[in-house]
């Protein structure tokens, strides 16, 4: 059991847990939380890979750059989703997704 495997496996576990959360939780905020953590799980995996790829103590910078990009993208999407969710809540009072016609 190496450091690489521990973190890679926990990344896998986090991803799966978050997927479960997205499917079963109906509160919008929980879904957004789950999605955000799902992103963290992927980033964790990438950073683990970077660590694995190290040469002479220098970790692979490409996954690092990917994660940095990913974090900004994730926070952008999260913040936008939150803005939408809050607007929706202010308009309807709902905290879960409803369609007007009730379909899907």
């Amino acid at each position: 059991m190496s450091e690489f495997l521990i973190y890679a496996l926990v990344a896998a576990a986090l991803f799966a847990i978050c997927l479960h959360g997205i499917i079963t939780r109906r509160h919008i905020l929980r879904k957004i939380l789950a999605l955000n953590m799902m992103g963290s799980a992927v980033f964790l995996l990438l950073i683990t890979i970077a660590e694995r790829n190290q040469v002479d103590g220098v970790a692979d910078p490409v996954p690092h750059a990917m994660v940095l990009t990913g974090i900004v993208v994730a926070v952008s999407a999260t913040a936008f989703a939150l803005a939408l969710a809050r607007r929706y809540h202010a308009q309807t009072g709902h905290t879960e997704l409803h369609d007007e016609d009730g379909s899907t």
């Binding site: 496996l9 964790l44 950073i47 970790a59 009072g93």
Partner: protein
């Protein structure tokens, strides 16, 4: 080495547990606070993984900023403002108008 591995294992398990708690804690505020903790611990893990600058970004953006946004949103949606973000009265009343 083994101490490092032990630390890593504990950190990893804590992350998984926190993740689960964020999704299942009955109190939404608590969930968001746990989410921030999750982000900070994640940053810690990344420091362990030789990625200090990414850890910095995660702490500032992933945990801090996202956490603040989440807290604010949770405040609106539960109808109860997180103390620090309390807003003046008229605005707060408007928050509640849609609550079913």
């Amino acid at each position: 080495m083994t101490i490092d591995l032990l630390f890593d294992s504990i950190l990893a398990l804590t992350l998984a547990w926190l993740c689960w708690r964020v999704l299942s804690a009955p109190d939404l505020f608590k969930a968001v606070v746990l989410f921030i903790a999750f982000g900070l611990l994640m940053a810690l893990a990344w420091v362990r993984l030789n990625a200090p600058d990414i850890a910095l970004a995660e702490a500032a953006i992933g945990a801090g900023l996202t956490g603040a946004l989440m807290l604010d949103a949770a405040g609106q949606m539960t109808g109860r403002s997180f103390p620090y973000f309390r807003k003046p009265e008229p605005a707060e009343q408007e928050v509640d108008h849609g609550e079913p």
